[in-house]
């Protein structure tokens, strides 16, 4: 038996493979649910009900999908250029804390219509600033950015922890380490009244379309793809490799920083060190599930959000640990990798 590259790829396979991957992941975690002694189909039904069963749960799912779309895009644009930015978690926190700092004090005097866009930009810039460290290390010292950006996550979270325990600490939080809240007029408008769903979802979806257009229609998009597919070839063809990577990194870090900014301005209002239940890492999965396609990221983020929000409800009623959502999503990443591989290769005897 050996593997052979496919000469043509039937349309049915291209559509079927991702679906098969998701089904396989759900089947595998079904085994884990069964081992825990719960009825599998009932558990999945409860996940769906928990994610969409009521107006409240549906808006909660969409609220959860919003940062995932942005961190998913952050990973997707970087990975396409083979820039392994695993630091979205840290960039998310830096974006969040920058907004908390500027939105609670430094710029809080500004009127809302000016303040809100300004704060979003501030969050994005904070994310960019953080990713430039691993990028600089790669370009200057040939340090693999996977490890350096991962390590930066720990540093960033500790930095945030230091700020919310120090200069940015909310004196009214009963000694709890928590940042001061952003001004009321800096919070994002709600999309639906009496829910947590905010305009950030629209921003994220518009950005997904914009990223898609940039990648498919602009010179920069072509250059970033070329830098990923074949750096030597790209250099030979006149692609300014270093400059392209800097732009890609800024886009990626900016999106992750924006995710943090939007989460603070749209949902929490302040920063704690559990602001993100791993949005940065989940973004990597979202990007891979979408095969790095920006539009696909929206759907992959929705799938991930359904699993997380739905598993909360399911866990309460059936006693299955909520970590089943993390397991399913991680399994989906692995099965998707294999499924996408078999759209390119086939097994020959």
């Amino acid at each position: 038996m050996r593997l052979e590259r496919r000469e043509h790829r039937p349309l049915l396979l291209l559509i079927g493979a991702p679906i098969a991957a998701i089904v396989a992941a759900l089947a595998l975690s079904g085994i884990l649910i069964a081992i825990a002694g719960a009825p599998v189909l009932d558990a999945y039904r409860r996940i769906l009900v928990g994610a969409f069963g009521s107006r409240l749960s549906a808006t909660e799912t969409l609220t959860r999908a919003t940062p995932l779309i942005l961190t998913g895009l952050a990973a997707a644009v970087a990975f396409r250029a083979r820039l392994w930015n695993i630091g979205a978690e840290g960039q998310f926190y830096l974006g969040a804390i920058a907004v908390a700092a500027f939105g609670s004090r430094l710029l809080a005097e500004l009127p809302g219509p000016i303040l809100i866009p300004l704060l979003l930009v501030v969050g994005a810039i904070a994310g960019m600033a953080l990713i430039l460290v691993p990028l600089w290390l790669r370009l200057r010292f040939s340090v693999d950015e996977v490890v350096s950006s991962l390590l930066m996550n720990f540093i960033a979270v500790l930095f945030v922890s230091m700020l919310i325990d120090g200069v940015l600490k909310d004196p009214l939080a009963f000694g709890w380490p928590q940042s001061q809240a952003v001004a009321d007029h800096a919070t994002l408008p709600k999309l639906i009244a009496r829910s947590r769903l905010h305009i950030g979802l629209v921003i994220a979806m518009v950005l997904a379309v914009l990223v898609y257009l940039v990648q498919s229609r602009t010179v920069f998009g072509m250059q970033s793809r070329a830098a990923g597919l074949n750096p030597q070839g790209a250099l030979f063809a006149g692609v300014p490799l270093g400059r392209t990577l800097v732009k890609v990194a800024c886009l990626s870090g900016g999106l992750a920083g924006l995710a943090g900014a939007i989460e603070v301005m749209g949902v929490k209002g302040y920063v704690t060190t559990d602001l993100s239940p791993g949005f940065g890492y989940a973004g990597i999965v979202v990007a891979m599930l979408a095969n790095l396609n920006p539009i696909g990221v929206v759907f992959a983020a929705l799938f991930t959000a359904i699993m997380f929000v739905g598993a909360d409800g399911m866990s309460r009623s059936l006693g299955i640990p909520t970590y089943i959502a993390d397991v399913t999503v991680a399994l989906a990443l692995l099965t998707m990798l294999v499924a996408l591989f078999f759209t390119q290769y086939r097994i020959r005897r």
């Binding site: 290390l137 010292f141 991962l150 720990f154 970590y323």
Partner: protein
């Protein structure tokens, strides 16, 4: 300055160095073995987490400590099989597969742990490895408590490092591993099967990573809690680069790193006015610094991260 000397003169510091270094030695050696054959194993963080969980769980359910370590090693080997299937057989991106293995292994460990141990006030504990009393040596003043009051896995880690250095540089197996990591096509021409070598090293390497994790729950602490590995796996990946892919230097690197870590822990208690987070950052900053220092100088295995497909270039 006298504060610094006081810390350096305490036997506790030196004992802590060996203790902190042990999981790093196992993890770094595991990652190093995989990379010597050309496979980057970013599954390390998750594999260490799973090893910590399953080793602890086995002992919690009545197995003896060494059985716990063995169970952890077997679980690590199984994750090694998974990583090999993805990166060696299918030749998928080693970065992405490794991160996938880490995400799966760590969330799977938390799931199993929560299933067996529901949320409780104080996490349940096991009786961990006890320090071995070495006749004569352990009773020496200063030297005894500083270097000869470790638990058995610590000595095992040092022995494994020496054995691995011998195997890699002085045996035919080691030569096959190095050839596969430098040029799998040439290795195949010499009658070495690169696929088998890569499977073998990734499986053994992953088992070592899991043993490093198990040390955390069976010797350094006595219970398991989520996120307890805290980036040690990533630090190991950085240490491999720092060690320039040599087991002896990996041992040295892990000890040096542990020295700084143990030192900052003690400095934290005597220096006032500096936020504790600054101290906690130092291990990660040091790792990045070590990477920047060594990345250009180190001789990377030439076929690292390149999938091998027979007859394909």
């Amino acid at each position: 300055m006298s504060v610094v000397f006081d810390i350096l003169a305490s036997a506790g510091l030196w004992a802590a160095i060996l203790r902190i270094a042990t999981p790093l030695i196992f993890g770094t050696l595991g990652a190093l073995l995989c990379e010597r054959a050309g496979v980057l194993n970013l599954g390390i963080e998750g594999i260490m987490t799973f090893g910590a969980m399953i080793g602890w769980l086995a002992v919690f359910h009545g197995a003896d400590l060494w059985t716990g370590v063995l169970v952890a090693a077997i679980s690590g080997a199984l994750f090694g099989v998974l990583h090999s299937l993805l990166t060696v057989t299918l030749g998928l991106s080693q970065h992405v597969s490794g991160l996938g293995v880490t995400l799966f292994a760590s969330s799977f460990s938390y799931y199993v742990f929560r299933l067996v141990v529901p949320v409780a006030g104080t996490p349940p504990t096991v009786m961990p490895f006890q320090p071995i009393d070495i006749p004569a040596l352990s009773s020496l003043p200063f030297i005894g408590p500083a270097f000869f009051t470790q638990t058995a896995p610590t000595y095992l880690a040092i022995v494994v490092a020496l054995i691995m250095a011998y195997i890699i540089f002085h045996t035919p197996v080691g030569l096959a591993i190095r050839m596969t990591g430098e040029n799998p096509h040439a290795a195949e021409a010499q009658g070495v099967n690169p696929m088998k070598v890569r499977y073998g090293t990734v499986i053994v390497g992953s088992a070592l990573m899991a043993v490093g994790g198990a040390f955390l729950t069976l010797s350094a602490f006595n219970s398991f809690f989520p996120t307890m590995v805290q980036g040690r796996g990533w630090i190991c990946i950085a240490l491999v680069v720092f060690a320039s892919w040599r087991p002896g230097r990996a041992l040295f690197g892990a000890l040096l790193f542990a020295f700084f870590d143990a030192f900052q822990l003690r400095l934290q208690t005597v220096v006032e006015g500096v936020p504790y987070q600054i101290f906690l950052m130092t291990p990660y900053i040091l790792s990045i610094f070590a990477l920047a220092l060594m990345a250009r100088r180190a001789r990377v295995p030439q076929a690292l991260m390149q999938p091998y497909r027979r007859g394909e270039r």
